[in-house]
């Protein structure tokens, strides 16, 4: 007989309660925002990382007929990006119409100056303020929170003030989504239910050199005993218990003794996969205390059954049908989409670049996985486009960016990882995603009427990432940073081996450089004022002269001094210098987390081979629009002003852009 589970019991009592409270009326209906019919309609396709040079080349080859068509109706221009040209920064420029000085997002990472530790710049979680402790149990009296750290108002909040409806799909740097009645779904920055950008799990009987915890994933060594594999799926930390232990779920995999098949049994889910097959979305619930559990969804990929067993489980995404964390406004929007489409990736950047980097996926498997992401996006896009009638529709695609990051090594013959054989198979990957976007554009243009303004834009372009620069090692070599134990150099990260009393500057994040300022940093030594000012200028000037000993090329084309380029209330919080790398160069993999290797420059041997965290002048984004642009070199923040202009809304004072029309 069908069991009555606890959840249903709780729901039943809640139903009874709410039913009485509402005097028998139905569940509250969330009011959607402004329903004003607007004469002008605006559709914006945000295609992350689309590069103007590539667009131009492919258009000339006749491969992007709809891009060409849109250009002929209006304009195609490079779009000036943010400094630094990192996605969270660039999209924040677009969201607020300001530069980082105004919205406070300067890099993927910022740092706690007191403790010298790096943190995500976009959001922070706060534990519950008060709690009762009973033995091992901790019962929070107020809910813990996740806070969006971006400052400034989002343009759709301003539209809302004027009753202009907007749907904002997966806008990066908007997690948790800022409060609004507009329909928004959070994008890049949205974590999995463990609070990671995305942590996959990989189970194998094979002996691997990889450690248990690798960046972005966890490797589990398992045993197949009697054609059965027993394993655990790690869940979020249990904040209801003392010391917040990790929660987990046990699951079992049954293997056929001969046929390449496996059955996976996890909680209420039970399903069979053939070797090389993906499951659809499966629901899991991590129990915390008897009345509380955290729901999530994940997909299983049975990579291999024999001779070695290999199973990949995607990061556990926030379940859109019952979000454990806030991912949409109104909250029912995610649930509505889940009802229509079933599960979908809610994680900020779902393409599992880490699985590809660590060899858990091969190129083909990565593309198959990112195709799921793209397909889900396109299905929801068709739905949103078909019901779009008034106001603004913004729709975001991540696959353009992620595939360029991972497959640039097949279009750049100078890349250390270029492989002609693989290039003959995957060399067209980037081109194909551009062509895919052309198809998306075709659908959009079909929907266009004479009152529709259509913009296709990207936050930045792309260049090869061939050589990596150890910025902290350079600081050390030039005497700006000193170690406690010289012989330990390169072994530790988070600046563990740094003698702060003899350190003037350090670099955290991808383009940021900080001064070890007295009174701000935990053990700061550089006095603010003239001393600091001189030091900043000196370092910036020296950086611009650094040359790659192997090629003789300049590594840093521009070192920007924050106070020269930023405007707004948060300039003081900026890193002192923003390092703009030359084409082909980027901060090394060791730099963002404060490691100080012994060498200065080395080849980038990661599959992550295209990048954009460089000098913004090197990698503008794109703007295609069916009207002429009056601004010669439009920037991301000009588009924000343009959006308001389209709906005849006066631009707030703090916005620095101007309308392109």
């Amino acid at each position: 007989m069908n069991k009555l589970n606890r959840r249903e019991f709780i729901k039943l009592s809640l139903t009874a309660g709410s039913f009485l409270a509402l005097g028998g009326s139905s569940a509250p209906i969330i009011k959607a925002s402004g329903k004003k019919e607007t004469p002008e309609k605006l559709i914006i396709l945000g295609l992350d990382g689309m590069d103007p040079h590539l667009v131009d080349v492919l258009m000339n080859q006749g491969k992007l007929p709809n891009f060409r068509r849109l250009q002929s109706l209006g304009d195609f221009r490079p779009l000036r990006t943010s400094t630094p040209p990192q996605s969270p920064v660039a999209w924040s420029n677009f969201i607020t119409g300001m530069n980082p000085g105004g919205h406070g997002i300067f890099d993927f990472l910022h740092r706690d100056p007191e403790r010298y530790i790096p943190l995500f710049s976009a959001a922070a979680s706060e534990a519950a303020k008060s709690a009762i402790k009973i033995g091992n149990l901790v019962l929070p009296l107020s809910g813990g929170k996740i806070k969006n750290l971006r400052k400034g108002r989002a343009f759709w909040q301003i539209l809302e003030d004027h009753d202009i409806p907007a749907t904002i799909f997966k806008m990066p740097s908007n997690y948790p989504p800022v409060p609004t009645k507009q329909q928004t779904l959070s994008g890049m920055g949205t974590t999995d239910i463990l609070g990671n950008p995305g942590l996959f799990n990989y189970y194998t009987t094979e002996f691997l050199e990889l450690k248990e915890d690798i960046g972005g994933g966890r490797i589990h060594e398992v045993y197949a005993i009697g054609n059965k594999v027993e394993a655990t799926l790690p869940g979020p930390r249990n904040s209801f218990k003392k010391d917040r232990p990790e929660s987990w779920l046990d699951f079992t995999v049954y293997l056929d003794p001969v046929n390449p098949l496996a059955k996976i049994v996890i909680q209420d889910e039970e399903f069979i996969l053939k070797e090389g097959e993906w499951s659809d979305w499966k629901s899991v619930r991590f129990p915390m205390i008897p009345t509380q559990s955290v729901p999530g969804i994940c997909r299983f990929y049975l990579k291999q059954v024999r001779p070695e067993f290999k199973l990949y489980i995607s990061p556990i995404n926030i379940d859109p049908s019952a979000p454990a964390l806030p991912i949409s406004t109104p909250p029912a929007y995610a649930e509505e989409l889940a009802k229509k489409f079933g599960g979908f990736y809610t994680q900020g950047l779902p393409a599992d670049t880490k699985a590809l980097d660590h060899g858990v996926f091969d190129d083909g498997e990565f593309l198959e996985q990112d195709n799921f992401v793209l397909q889900e996006r396109m299905d929801i896009f068709d739905h949103e486009l078909s019901r779009f009638e008034s106001g603004l529709l913004f729709y975001y695609v991540s696959s353009t960016d992620q595939r360029q990051h991972m497959f640039w090594r097949y279009i750049d013959q100078e890349h250390p990882l270029y492989d002609p054989k693989l290039a003959s198979i995957y060399g067209k990957t980037i081109e194909s995603i551009y062509i895919e976007m052309d198809r998306m554009l075709a659908k959009t243009m079909d929907k266009m009427d004479k009152n529709t303004i259509l913009m296709v834009m990207s936050d930045h372009g792309f260049t090869p990432f061939r050589r990596s620069f150890h910025l902290n090692s350079w600081l050390k070599e030039n005497g700006y940073l000193n170690l406690i134990n010289a012989w330990k150099q390169g072994e530790e990260d988070l600046f563990m081996n740094t003698d702060w009393s003899r350190t003037k500057a350090y670099a955290y994040g991808i383009n940021s450089l900080f001064i070890n300022q007295a009174g701000r940093e935990g053990e700061g030594v550089v006095r603010p004022g003239a001393e600091k000012e001189a030091l900043v200028r000196e370092i910036a000037q020296k950086l611009e002269q650094v040359k790659d000993p192997q090629t003789g090329e300049r590594i840093v084309s521009r070192a920007f001094v924050a106070k020269d380029i930023y405007r707004g209330r948060y300039v003081e919080e900026a890193p002192e210098i923003i390092v703009g790398y030359n084409r082909g160069y980027r901060a090394s993999w060791s730099t963002p987390l404060g490691r100080i290797p012994k060498n200065l420059v080395e080849d980038n041997k990661e599959k992550w081979s295209g990048d954009h965290c460089m000098d913004p002048n090197v990698i503008p984004g794109i703007l295609l629009v069916n009207r002429k642009s009056k601004v010669e070199h439009p920037a991301l923040y000009d588009l924000t002003a343009t959006i308001l202009d389209v709906f005849n809304i006066e631009k707030p004072e703090e916005m620095i852009g101007k309308s392109i029309f």
């Binding site: 007989m1 069908n2 009555l4 249903e8 729901k11 039943l12 809640l14 139903t15 039913f19 139905s26 569940a27 009697g226 054609n227 059965k228 049954y254 056929d256 003794p257 001969v258 046929n259 098949l261 496996a262 059955k263 039970e270 399903f271 069979i272 053939k274």
Partner: protein, 275 residues
Amino acid sequence: MWIFNSIFGKIFEIIFIPFRSLSPWVGMTLISLLTGLLMLLIFRYTSNQEGIRKVKNKIKAHLLELRLFKDSLALSLKAQGNIFRSNIKYIGYSGKPLLVMIVPLILILIQLNFWFAYQSLQPGEITILKVKVQEGQNILDLELKIEPPRSLAIETLPLRIEEQQEINWRLRAKEGGLHSLVFRINGQSFVKKVSVAQKPLSRISPLRVRRNFIDELFNPGEAPISKDIPVKSIEVKYPNKNMNLFGWHIHWIIVYFALSIIFGFALKGVLKVEI
């Protein structure tokens, strides 16, 4: 057992015929009403109606006493003691009818579970088909063939789990209907019904079992599998179904008991039953 099951099952089928295309709430309301009536009748003819009336009056009297003499501790305590004793007596009186009720109620619950607990598969939906094989049979050597109709597809080779004497397949529903999956083993054949895209109120039998009193009692949906076939049971995993009340999903059994009790109380006056 199968004769009883099929007749008893038919009764429910006849009761539900007019309501199959409507929301399951209609069928649920009707069956709860009938259950309420049945329970009242059982109560009336198996309980000591006079005794119940008396003991209830006594409780009321003691309650009054409690209110009147609330200032006197001794009297209050005495009245409370009396209420407690009468309550025990009352529970004693209702014990017999409850015992009598339990048998038909279990049979009804077993039947209703097939109508309200499962959802038929939707075209395109996949699920697991499980065959449990008799102990002692080597499942790796077993020559078991499935002949799916065109409206169903078996998508995988057999997955054999020796530990559980079980063979699993992935089954995909393609078209609506009540389909028959034919199994062939050692020259014999048998069938498992598979429901796809059935009406909102439909009888769905997930499990077909071998001839055995208890198993048959709890799985009366399909005739038992012959004892000559070395198969214990065949199961199709159907998604669970809940009653939807303004978006809240409630287990059917809760709705059923709640409605039956409401109807029972509403009609006790009409039928002059003391409960």
